[in-house]
């Protein structure tokens, strides 16, 4: 039984049930959207940068499983106020560490969808599919 609760820890369920920074952000500078074709999870990310290239505003929209949506919510909390250079340096592992749950290959795709959308948003051409 422990595996269930490994995956659906308090933090994950909390972010899923009470997502942070969720909603549209009309006129945002950077926007990106992606979905997991095999699962139907969807994440849309909106970012505004301020004059010193820091993330001044961040919002996400989306639907999907607890893992994908909690991951998006957690990611937004990591992004707020971050300088662009650090956003660019923010890798998958940083997000996974923050999630802190054991993930199988399929669920990894759920967890990393938001990170992939972030890379699309900041114009990383080599953004691999999550």
């Amino acid at each position: 039984m422990s595996a269930t609760y490994d995956l659906y820890q308090e933090q994950i369920l909390d972010h899923y049930k009470h997502p942070r920074n969720k909603g549209p952000l009309p006129g945002a500078t950077l926007n990106a959207k992606d979905s997991n074709p095999l699962c139907g999870d969807e994440v849309i990310l909106h970012l505004n940068l301020d004059g010193s290239h820091r993330i001044s505003e961040v919002r996400f929209e989306g639907q999907g499983c607890a893992i994908s949506q909690a991951s998006a919510s957690i990611l937004t909390t990591m992004l707020k106020g971050l300088p662009r250079a650090e956003v660019e340096a923010l890798n998958q592992d940083a997000l996974l560490k923050k999630l802190g749950i054991p993930l199988s290959v399929v669920r990894l795709k759920c967890a990393l969808l938001s990170h992939h959308v972030l890379r699309l948003a900041i114009g990383d051409k080599k953004a691999d599919r999550a």
């Binding site: 595996a3 269930t4 659906y8 699962c39 139907g40 999907g64 499983c65 607890a66 893992i67 669920r107």
Partner: protein, 415 residues
Amino acid sequence: MAKPAKVLLNVPAIKADFPILQRKVHDRRLVYLDSAATSQKPRQVIDATSDFYARYNANVHRAIYELGEEATREYEGAREKIAAFIRAKSPNEIVFTKSTTESLNVVAYGYGLKGKLQPGDEIVGTVMEHHSNHVPWHFVKDHKGAVLKYVDVTDEGTLRMEQYDELLTKRTKIVTVALCSNVLGTINPVKEIAKRAHEVGAVCVVDAAQAAPHMSIDVQDLDVDFLAFSGHKMLGPTGIGVLYGKPEALEATEPLLGGGEMIREVHLGRASWNDVPYRFEGGTPNIAGAIGLGVAADYLTKLGMDAVRAHEMEITQYALEKFERLQGVKTYGPKDVKKKAGVLAFTIDNAHPHDVASILDVEGICIRSGHHCAQPLMERFDLPATARASFYVYNDLEDVDALVAGIKRVQEVFA
């Protein structure tokens, strides 16, 4: 739990034939409820493929030596078994492919794209098809200018049959439909649809991926022109599929794969085709797969396809009743098991199907979640995804009980 008087199959004896069902998952008994994705395999099938490799492995058809004779005999013997399994008139009406998907593409390319169809000719499908019976027809639209039309479903999940009145015209050349939906479980009135297709001079192409494993099929009675299914969903190996075709339908079909075995003569820049069905089996076939599939058909025939169907109806009925009593759980598709195969799509309020599947996994229960390769149907019901449990010969009512208990646990987590 009420023990069933009516479950027809001897499940403990059947379970004993399936090595994988002896294993534990996360220290729990394995409750496999994903046979609609792929079925488990009995020892008999596993042994038949090993035995081929260990005793008489050789390439088929062209070999003059003893091993090759044996391999060819068994491979062609499998073709005969499959012909009998769906009551085809002759083994020559059976083409071995790698999957339902390949079978349907063989028809789409060979009868459509490269074959008889002209720009503006119409193909009538349905919104409940699996992607494998959608995308091949897109190719015929995109590369041949065919026009695609679709029959809708009712909210209950049955075909809106009256739409055929309008959609079927002189321009209709192909009518395609699943015999059984892989999401709703709906069993479609294919005999009636084939009749109406023929009235306008169209051929009827049937996706029987979810039907062939679960109910007896008589292609002569259904009077369909093409029918496709997969070995791996009916106790057989992966990598083997079947395309049945009436002789005149197969004769009118161009081959998809060019290569060895499917030719009569090859010259530089031109070739002529071998006879039906070999014309459609370019390249070394999945010999072990075909032989294993033949043994799977034997296994099912011995159980009796009517008994298999009755068994699954019983389980499905039991599951529907149990689900009915669960708060916050919704099921999709017909509620009448006479119209429904053992496929049960459901959603749980506030819990995403992926999370449902993850939590059930921890309980040792395998179900599927997602769009089940039927996105147009999901769109029709405005669902991003569902969970899906599906039943087969090795399942019993205890498996349903385990599922229901698992769902309660999911609800606790997402309360």
